[in-house]
Amino acid sequence: MGKAPKKRSLADKVRKTKTNAAIKNNPFEVKINRKKFDVLGRKTKHDVGLPGVSRSKAINKRKETLLKEYKQKNKASKFVDRRLGEYDAKIAPEDKILQRFALERQRIHEKKDMYNLNEEEELTHYGQSLAEMEKFNDMVNSDDESEEKGLLSAELTASHFGGGGGGGLLRKKTSGEQQQEDGNQRAKSRQELIEELIQKSKQEKRERQVRKEEAQELTEKLDQEWKSIQALMVKKTAKAEHTDKPEEKPKLDEYDMMVRELGFEMKAQPSEKMKTPEELAKEEKEKLQKLEADRLRRMMGEEEETKAQSQTRIKTSAWNLFLSPLIFSDPFFPLVGFLFYNFIKFFFFLAPESYEDLKDLLCGHTPENQRLIVARTQKCNHPSLAVGNKLKLQKLFGFLLEYIGELALRTSPELTAVDKLLPELYALCQMSPEAAAAAVQLVLADAAHSMEEQIEVKGHAPFPTLDSLIYLKLTALLFPTSDFRHPVTTPALLYISLALTKCPVRSLQDATAGLLLCCLAVEYVSFSKRFLPELINFLTGSLHLAVRDKTSLGYTVAPPFRRAGKCSDLLVLSDPESCRSWRKKPLPLSATRCLELKSDLDRDHHRLTCLSVCLDLVKRCCLLYNDLPSFSHIFQPVGSLLSKHLSIQTIVCLLQELHREIMDAISSAPTTHRRLVFNKKKPIPLKLLTPKIVEVLDYGKKRGCTREEREKERLKHKYKKEFKGALREIRKDSRFLAREKLNEVMNRDAERKRKVKELFGSLATQEGEWKALKKRKRK
């Protein structure tokens, strides 16, 4: 019932395509659109047109839509199809039919069989009652047919075709079978037989289903397993194939094996050749040159992506580091070899979790051993050994920094320990630069913040303590000081500048600390030769402290120094004779905090040392800033101070050399400069009048404007096209309607004409008859 319309539509389609093909081949229907150019490889849709077909299509379409509307015009009533699901597109046609059928049945049932006691309604087959058909045995099995369609098991065929010789129709076989059984075995009723058969087939069906399900399950399982392996297989397929192949091969004979072995034998691999020391040195030199170039580029402040950065980090295999110095060649080994516990404790250091842990770890060891402990901790916790180690080492850097600060602050600063720990700090810093930079930044920010607060309250601040000075030095060792802008060293320099301008010199310790800061400052700018005004100010001020006669100065001193007053004679010798016994020797770093100077002589010696440091720094600055255009103005105060107030006659003979060098440098500096002019601008090119020729590469496309404009242009074009199309359609519609109206009128007229004719005809016959009658009467 459901298939009938489908089939018809299919048939329709077939017919249609057939006609289409016929039309296409019909030269009278085809219109060939002439092409201007033949382009190879271009597929055109519209090279052949079928005007007749498209016109008829359009007319049909109009007939279905426009004509219907026209017919319905001025009509209030409507024809509504009330059939179930007629306007519901969601329901499939088969369902629709089924539902309609069910509804129909229900309606009939309700109306007719209201009093029908028989529950089952009459079953029909091709409109005939089944109950009637039961009587004719040969008509039965059509019902089973649908179930057993395509089912041809051996048993079934045996049962069906077993005894019977002919291969006729099914119903014939059943009757044959029945006869056979009747003959051979005890009589089995036909009903039983059929039941048995049904049973068997059902069982088989079930079994088949079970088997199918099992197979399904197994495939699914296999699929999943395959998926899990697939990832591995993809990578290693090549290898796997490689390894599988020899296994599959049949056993080889001895000769073959030998040949193969020889083939596979380890041949001398071309390794990197041993480098001669010269080559190694050369390589090292090249690397350094590259880094140096990088540093120079940063110094000029050029913003470029640093690629060489990763190279600077030390990349060493963790185990290599761990094992090589650890096992025997170790002075620490006998110390801890006694107990296994100690062994564990000393050889597998856990990274300290807090600052206290680190202190406990390092407490009571000699500086050398402290270094070893830190080195071992670092190696035991190398980032390549475990996941969290990098973080641990970053923390370790912070703790070490704190520890160094504490070492420097002890009453007798343990600076040798700091010195020993330095390489470890450097290695840690190389390992994680960001964290190290953050830690150093924090330390510097704290120091600067506290100093700024003191300045805000009092207007000045004491000199930084030894730990801050050590931190500043560490910063210079860990980070490049020559960069144009560096997140760590730029603030560090600012901190030095702050200390040099805001900390008044009130004692010899202060002077020492100040000079230490100056040394640091000179180190910071020694490579980049950057100008540090505070440094010159401070050095001038320190020299001013040594001037005995403070009247009629030919120079000015900048704060924190004063022209005269308290503490402005700090470096003036108490006894001019004391310089005879003075020898220059390096100052201890602790001199910035406490000085044990008992006698005047000691104090004078310290003063002379400070003075020599100061002069040496001035000399270095002279060399550094030699190229600056304002060199002579920068060093004018120093020059006049040294020439008038600390002249070469009054100074110690040991310092006279320095003095002379400085004076030479200052006087030899060029005082003339070129006038300032702006950088030359690139001249603006004149307007050229030759036409600009642009090669057009993509023909036919609109160019030369922005994307939006192009889009707008495209839309405009499309609109125009659509508008024209719509107009054309409307015209065609009205033409169609007019034609329909004319047709209607013509039809109506023709009908009327026909009717009139008919009437006239009947009247004529009447008239004729009447005349004939009259004639006859007259006759």
């Binding site: 390489p423 810093c429 700024e452 230490l516 201890p588 304002s630 006038r675």
Partner: protein, 454 residues
Amino acid sequence: FALRKKKYLCSLSSSAEDKCRIFMRHRYNACVEILLEHLNHEQFAVKESALCCLMKFAAGQGQHPLEDLEWSEHHSFPRGIILAVVENLTSKTTDNTLLISRFQEFLEMDDVRYYVMSALRESVGKVMEKNKGTLLPVYQNNVFTLMSSISMPSQQSELTNFMVKLEGQLLYLFFSLEDNHKRAFEKMWLGFLKYKLPSNMYKKLLVILHDSILPHMSKPALMIDFLTAAYEVGGAISLLALNGLFVLIHQHNLDYPDFYKKLYNLLEPTVFHVKYRARFFHLANLFLSSSHLPLYLVAAFTKRLARLALTAPPTGLLIVLPFIYNLIRRHPSCRVLLHKPSTEDEPVEDPYLMDEEDPAQCRALESSLWEIKTLQKHYHPDVAKAAMMISTPLSEQEEDISELLELTTYELMERDLKKPQDKKSIPLEFETATQLLKGGGDVLAHHFCLVSDE
């Protein structure tokens, strides 16, 4: 005290007999004397309650005058008590700052303020005459604290708060703002400033002068002598006097000859280091914003500032460089300082004379700003960048320096510290650190050692 006060109140209200009255009067006077003595007590609590009590006495006495009003031509304000209190407050030996700040609450009352002012004037005159104008730091400090705690009302209508009530007519007679109050205020200050002051008080005074003293004087021009004297002292005091002078020049038509010359001579290396740097540059910016200044003057200022920049800290440089650029922008003829193309391309010596005091003679216009070229090598990146601007023609738009005025070194550090460093990793030193004192030219190792040899 309460008991005595009650007694005194009783004496006012009940007693009608003369004898009793005289007795009570004597007791009252004795009580006031004792209280005045207590104003110099060691303990602050005693001082404070004595002061409060005295002021209550004064209020009571004002409402219930001791003498009849007929023969007193003044209205009945207890001037005696106020004078005594003021004299005790401005002690020559002890610093009464705390007590004076307590007393400030009474100064809110307009009549008290008025009489305190006149009392102060009298007492200052007396005391300083006695000492022949020598410095009395504690006394002068007390007087200054008391004087600076006087806050004047700005309008007549605000004169409503009185200790002793007055009728409308009398009020205008005695307390018109213009006539009496302002004049008393002015006389008090002038009387105080006549004498020599300690230098730190000079600074304090000059800091408050322009906004809490000058507007309340009836004739601010009277301050000219004081301010010009202060301006000629030099150093920080001159810087501070600038502010007051500016008010006088701007609002009171003061014609100050050689003002710019003096301003020019104020430019010393210290201006970049003193506390009042922001104030100074703000005012200097105001003074030099006039477009009618002669060219030589602007050039002289520019050149001098540039020369001073060679000794300035980075925060100062970040102010002074835009300052110089703004000057050149305002006076485009000054561009020769940055751009002087000449046919003969010979190097010249700097013709500028730093020691010349007269800006007209310092030959700044013949010079160029080589100092800024020097600063292109400054260690701080921001300064170096700012100095780089001289190599191209300056833009038209002036830079706003007001935000830079209060910049501190720590804030400058924070610019680098707080900067997110996400884009690339931090460059590291590639020379392996082996020893603490090594590296960077070995300057430290040359002069210092880890531990002393002995």
